[in-house]
Each structure stands twice: as structure tokens, then as C-alpha cells.
Symmetry: C2
Subunit: 232 residues, 2 copies
Amino acid sequence: MTSESDKTNGSDGRPISQVRRAVGLLREMIITNKLLPGSNHLESELAELLGMSRTPVHEAAILLETQGLIEVIPRRGIRVLPLSAADMEEIYAILTELESLAAYDLAQDGLTPEQLATLRAHIDEMEAALEVEDRPRWASADDSFHRDLVAMGRNRRLTAIVSTYWDQVQRARLLTLYMRPLPHRSNADHRALVDAIAEGDAERARAIHRKHRLNAKRLMVELIAQHGLTAV
Amino acid sequence: MTSESDKTNGSDGRPISQVRRAVGLLREMIITNKLLPGSNHLESELAELLGMSRTPVHEAAILLETQGLIEVIPRRGIRVLPLSAADMEEIYAILTELESLAAYDLAQDGLTPEQLATLRAHIDEMEAALEVEDRPRWASADDSFHRDLVAMGRNRRLTAIVSTYWDQVQRARLLTLYMRPLPHRSNADHRALVDAIAEGDAERARAIHRKHRLNAKRLMVELIAQHGLTAV
DNA sequence: GTATGCATTAACGCATGCATTGTCAATGGC
DNA sequence: GCCATTGACAATGCATGCGTTAATGCATAC
């Protein structure tokens, strides 16, 4: 995950502000279900929890609200937004298009051997995890694969958007991790995708990834429906 | 306190906050070049300009920074980010994919006759403007067409992203409005797109719009290069 | 003349205080 | 007994103040 344990400086060299700290911590707590979807929390409560005053929490809340993670209701508190199956469809539709674009761009621009090796290492890790049926380990490698794939592209804005929405489905992915069949099929897609990128076949890379993502979306929506989860 | 327009409530029924006011006003000033790209502005200066204290300006700045419109540099002020040709390419690439997806979805879900009429009215308006070579009027209609197209889809998140990035290229569009040839060709694309949507041909709608946007991107990048604008 | 270091100053991050406003409950009227 | 109206309370939005820190200018040394 994001491991910026350095307390004084961010990756940009600027000292880490309380606002950034609040955003990071709150996002983490939401993604990992420390703050449950649908729950309400007062600014002062969160401020005390994070060891800061209300101001940075307030500012972090405004930010997270625009990113769709929470809703600020003036005198009721900060509400962690549950995601319905419909929300999931929206998000996956966006991720599908943008990640497919990233794959296309990567195939066109070409990757260095090191970059290809990194992606393949993630796939190997996924396979190793699958063999011992270690789902969290597989999920972590899958996460890294997709994040790296997009981050290797040169489009910083695209990376940012994908990261934002990927965060939002994390919670649902964690929740459904043990409900789904072991994703053997998924890894074949990953290998085919990296091969297409390595060969510079942009259209194929895009098509493979789109199909891969559409499958993931269908699976996720079905799981949520099957298990009677109206929202997560 | 402030005696601007005494609009006390936003579209969501909630009273309009100073932060929202600041975000809206600053965005507007940036898009319309009231705040020039590359210029620096102190929080206190903007606060006085907008008739509020530093706090809401500070919070608006954090927000606009995540949207890529400005950069907050701690003791140098708030810097309006210039967009390079490379930035333009990034943004247009994202807009191309997401708007094409919107077109695809619209064709699949179908539009009401009223919605189709609205889109066609925008096209008629563009044509009328072209005939009298009224470029601002054309630009306004084109803007409405694209915004409505995406907004008619059911994907609220997609609408939000497109709106954000569309804002960012507005400045460049305004700047290059008189540099480009009159976009007669463009309107043929628009009609073909609406026809494809009306016929429910999702793949065709997507393809038409992608091509349309790729052309727009090429034109924009060329214009910026031709006129020696390294950034706008 | 130039470069370096220190002092001054001012801008911003954040804490705090105040006023506004919505919520909840109690009391009174129907 | 139920609903409405009012009052008290509490949470938030925003203004203000303070401490921190970085930028700038001047002086001094080389």
C-alpha cells in the first residue's frame, strides 16, 4: 500500500501537512473498514482520534467529499458513503476505459525490460499466491499489478483518477475476497496483456484489458447481488 | 456579510458555503483568464478580492489544487497552473475515452425524444453561428452540446470527471478560438453521433466520438505549437 | 565586486472562539 | 393522546490570532 512513514517530509519534499495526514489516515480507515460505510462521525470526534484540531479534519473532509468517499452533512456529521451495486458499475465502467487507455498507451510507447519484468513479477506473485490459495497475498499482488500498470504510463492525470476510484472499490474487493472463486482465469488475462504490450500491439492490449475489466465488473456486481449486499 | 447575489441556497438545498463560493469564483476567474496562468496570488489577496476571510480561500485552494487548476506553494502564493501541449494531450486523451464511453452508454440506454431534440438544437445553434461566423456563439453551443451529452448519461462520476477536465481546457479553447479554421467538419461529426445514438448503435457512436475528439486534440496541439505557445 | 550568513519580515498552517443554524425534546394546545 | 411550536443545546462554518518557517535584503568578509 502507500507507505509514507516519513513524518516530516512528503514525497515532494514539502513538510507533510496535517491536512494531508488527515486525508491519508481517513482514506485508509475507510478503505479498511475501520470507519464503516453508512456511519456518521463528528469532526471533533475525528479530530481527537487523529490528534489534531478540527480545522485540518474539516479541510480533509471537503477533499474526501469531492472524491466521493464521504458526505459532509452539516450538523449530522461526516458520513462514510456506502457503495451500491450501481455505484460499483459506474466506477468499474470508468476504470475499464481509463485502464484500457493506459494499456494502449503503454503498448504504443513501449516499456523498458525492467518495467516488463516488474509487471511479470507481480503476475508470478499472483500465481504463487494462487497455488497456496493465499487470497490476501493474491489481492495485494493484483493491486500492485494494476496500480503499476497505470503508473507506468506518462499520463499523470489518468494515474490520479484511476487511483482515486480504485481506492473506492478496495473496500468491496476486500469484502468479497473470500466469496469469489479463485481467479485462475484472471491471470491468463494478465499474461496476455503484458505480452500484447511487450509486442507493441496497442489495440490488442486495449481489447484484452477491457474484457478483463468487464469480467471483473460483472463478477463484482453479481457477488454483491448474490450476497444480498445492497451496499458496502 | 457579503452582499453579492443573495442566493442563500445551492442546487442541493444546502446553504451555499463560502468555500463553494470561493471555488466557483476562482475557477471562473481562472477559466476566463482573469487570473493569468503562471501568476501568483496570496491567500490574503484573494480573500480580500472575494470578500471573505483567508480560511475559505485556503480550503478552496486545497480543492482546486487536487483538480489540477492551481498549485499551492507555501510562501509564494497560489499559482495558476499553465497548461502545456503535453498537458493538453493528457487531458484530451482522458476526455476522449470518457466522452466516448458516455456516447456508448447513451446509445445503449436510449434517449428520450426530448433529449435528442436538445442535442440537435445545440447542433442547429452551432450551424447558425457558423453561417454568420460568430465564433463565441459557436463555442458556447459546442460547449453545451458536449456537456449535455455527458450529463444525459447516468454515470454521475463520469459526468463529474469530464466536467473537471473540460474546465481545464476551456482557457485554451477560448484562446485558440480565432486561430482555428471554422469547424464545419466538426458539425457533421456531431450529427452523425446523434444519429448513431438515436439508432442505438453504441459501437458506432463510440467510434464516431472518439475520432471526433482525436481530431480536436490534434488541432489543439497543433495550434498551440504553431503559435509558439509553450503553455497557456 | 561577489558571495555568504544572519536578521527581519511576512505568509501560511493550524488552533481556537464566536455566531449561526439545525436538531431534539419538552410542553402546551387541540 | 397526538401534533405543533418553541427553546435549549450542540456542531459546524468561518474569522481571527499565534507560532513557525521561508524568503529577502543588508552587512561583512574575502
